[in-house]
């Protein structure tokens, strides 16, 4: 993937860092550049965050800028909304995206709607960071993927960066955005390493990236599924099947153009996402293609691989079986490319 394609004003140098470090780097830059930026969340100070994403930021910026909040997700999110409404730019970290279920009222009924309800007379430039997804053995209440919920809410923007460089650039873009942005960070990506441009840059919200060019089948994937799709694609390449892989990056607003252009080229679409299959992100991607001019180019039924219709189980084998894995993607993409579906 060519990071340069999605960078606005990056320094020329890059540095290898993990996804978590890249997010921390973005927050440090933001805290330095803009005195109105504050970080809020449970145990983001001394503890460094449940996933060590804020790390040592409290030592560098102090407790007034990196605020531990009580275990009060509804209130904490609401304080962030009120602060954003009146002049701060808060980044509120949920320890797990699952706990956002406690704060839907402030995120959806307040943050997403305030500008509209007030006829444009108010703005809520808040960022909610949400560690998300399964694979950590933490079971049903710590492994969900809620991006479809927020993707259904006008007034929000929803991003799912899949690489360190994207994670940094999209978080900085989220902070520049005058409206509320939800950032889903996949927990299994936190340790993933990658080259990340130094300094300030933004990765645009609302633009998908073609991360592998191909002609036989289009795979639209998000977050960790991008990597599983790329793995599948390189296996398929050995068989002479060229899959085009699109990193969705933004769930709301969706990048129709990139997806449609690819499907017009390949005639075949596979949507891969970790959230529950029914009414997950892949449903919308399928629907937008099926109603678009790409419909006439479709050579086969649109395929979806999504999470099982079950809560995430604790047993590790069951847990793996509950979400798409690389061999699943490979197998469906192969059948699709070969005209077997």
């Amino acid at each position: 993937m060519n990071a340069q394609t999605h960078i606005k004003e990056a320094g020329s140098k890059t540095r290898e860092m993990s996804y978590a470090e890249a997010i921390r780097d973005a927050m440090a830059i933001a805290l330095e550049r803009d005195p109105t930026v504050v970080l809020m969340g449970e145990d983001i100070g001394t503890y460094g965050g449940a996933f060590q994403v804020t790390g040592d930021l409290v030592d560098r910026f102090g407790k007034d800028r990196v605020m531990d909040t009580p275990i009060s997700e509804l209130g904490g999110a609401g304080v962030a909304v009120g602060a954003a409404l009146t002049g701060l730019k808060p980044i509120y970290e949920f320890q797990f995206s699952d706990f956002a279920a406690l704060a839907m009222e402030q995120i959806v009924n307040q943050a997403a709607k305030l500008r509209y309800m007030l006829g444009g007379e108010a703005a809520v430039p808040v960022v909610f960071r949400m560690p998300s997804g399964s694979g950590t053995g933490a079971a049903a209440q710590h492994s969900q993927s809620f991006e479809a919920w927020f993707g259904h809410v006008p007034g929000l923007k929803v991003v799912q960066p899949s690489t360190p460089a994207e994670a940094k650039g999209m978080l900085l873009a989220a902070l520049e955005d005058p409206d509320p942005v939800i950032v889903f960070e996949h927990k299994l990506l936190y340790k993933m390493k990658g080259e990340v441009p130094e300094g300030y840059y933004t990765t645009p919200i609302g633009k998908a990236a073609v991360v592998r060019v191909g002609k036989d089948v289009t795979i639209v994937a998000s977050a960790i599924m991008v990597h599983r799709a790329l793995e599948a694609a390189s296996k398929l390449a050995a068989e002479g099947i060229e899959a085009e892989v699109i990193d969705l990056r933004t769930v709301r607003p969706l990048d129709r153009e990139t997806i449609i252009a690819s499907v017009k080229k390949t005639g075949k679409l596979l949507c891969v996402y970790e959230g529950v299959r029914t009414l997950g992100v892949g449903a919308e991607i399928s629907a937008l293609v099926a109603e678009s001019e790409a419909f006439d180019y479709l050579d086969a039924p649109i395929q979806r691989l999504g999470g099982a219709e079950a809560p995430i189980p604790y047993n590790p084998d069951l847990e793996r079986a509950a979400v798409p894995q690389s061999p699943d993607i490979e197998s469906v993409a192969r059948k699709l490319a070969k005209g077997e579906v």
């Binding site: 509804l74 209130g75 609401g78 909304v81 602060a83 009146t86 009924n109 108010a122 006008p154």
Partner: protein, 336 residues
């Protein structure tokens, strides 16, 4: 006037200028007349949806906002017309909003339940009971972080005090010593549900102790008592000593909303409260203390009446939003 005599006067008379007191009376009349105007407009089909009138609660709204400047913020509730006027909004733009006009405060997108006037510091009514509580704490946080000395008043009802948001908000305001004043307008009912049934303590202010903040219950129909409680709480907030909880005991004369059949309270109770009209009480007090005379009071009321009549005309004349503009204001223009 000798110092002793001074001290026997009600707080409000001692503390505010006659001009300020007359303005307060004007606002109370304005609220009452606005609500009546809104009610009539609703009957005549100019307003649709639902409305929550604050008739009977005017002293609470106006006395609470008495010492606030435009830099100070309020968060308001579904029963928020009075707060909006008390904080300084223009009734014409309020009516325009209720009539769904582009000239309304929310450009016709919000209506009664989202009435706001950000320029005078009203961050908005709220359709969600308790929704404004954490938002007010966030406003307090901004003031503290940016080193400003503005305070935020958070209006909420007795019903709202049983929401989890109340607990979380008061706790955070307290541990961070934020300049927030939580003003509970206890009108005895949340919709049909008596506070005495739904709330496990006799006074909502009893709950302040659970957040180590001062809590006080005052007669919410006594302008001076409310103003004094707020004076103390605002001073505390501006001094960086943290939040307070003030409970104004009051009563709404009308039903909860337009769909209320009033089966949960007695006629006697309603009439008893109506006989203790906060506006007449304040007006009599001002006259008694020579702030104005009967004619002066009449003039104040007449001015309010004019403002309401003009406001309705302004509202009627305004254009409706373009029907193609459904998605306007969802996002900032540039980012849309």
């Amino acid at each position: 006037m000798a110092r002793d005599a001074q001290e026997n006067l009600p707080f409000a008379i001692r503390h505010f200028s006659p001009e300020a007191l007359k303005e307060a009376l004007r606002k109370m009349h304005l609220i009452r007349l606005f609500e009546e105007g809104a009610e009539e407009s609703y009957m005549r089909g100019l307003i649709h949806g639902t409305m929550h009138l604050s008739i009977g609660q005017e002293a609470s709204a106006v006395a609470t906002c008495m010492e606030l400047t435009d830099a100070d913020k309020i968060t308001s509730t579904h029963r928020g017309h009075g707060h909006c006027i008390a904080k300084g909004a223009d009734v014409g733009r309020m009516f325009a909003e209720f009539f769904g006009k582009e000239t309304g405060y929310c450009h016709g997108r919000g209506g009664s339940m989202h009435i706001a006037d950000v320029k005078t510091g009203n961050l908005g009514a709220n359709g969600i009971v308790g929704g404004g509580l954490p938002i007010a704490v966030g406003a307090g946080l901004t003031a503290k972080r940016l080193g400003r000395d503005d305070v935020t008043v958070c209006f909420f009802g007795d019903g709202a005090n049983n929401e989890g948001a109340f607990h979380e908000a008061l706790n955070m305001a307290s541990i961070w010593k934020l300049p927030v004043i939580f003003v509970c307008e206890n009108n005895k009912y949340g919709m049909s549900t008596a506070a005495a049934y739904a709330t496990a303590v006799p006074n909502i202010s009893d709950r302040a102790a659970a957040y180590s903040m001062p809590g006080v219950t005052v007669d919410g129909n006594d302008f001076s008592a409310v103003a004094e409680a707020l004076h103390i709480a605002i001073a505390r907030a501006r001094a960086g000593e943290g939040p307070s909880l003030v409970e104004n005991l009051t009563y709404r004369w009308r039903g909860h909303s337009k769909s209320d059949r009033n089966r949960y309270r007695t006629k006697d109770e309603i009439e008893d409260w109506m006989s203790r009209d906060p506006i007449q009480r304040f007006r009599a007090e001002l006259i008694a203390h020579g702030v104005l005379d009967e004619a002066g009071a009449e003039a104040v009321e007449a001015a309010a009446k004019d403002a309401v009549a003009q406001g309705i005309e302004f509202a009627k004349a305004g254009p409706a939003p373009a029907i193609t503009d459904v998605t306007k204001f969802v996002h900032a223009e540039a980012a849309a």
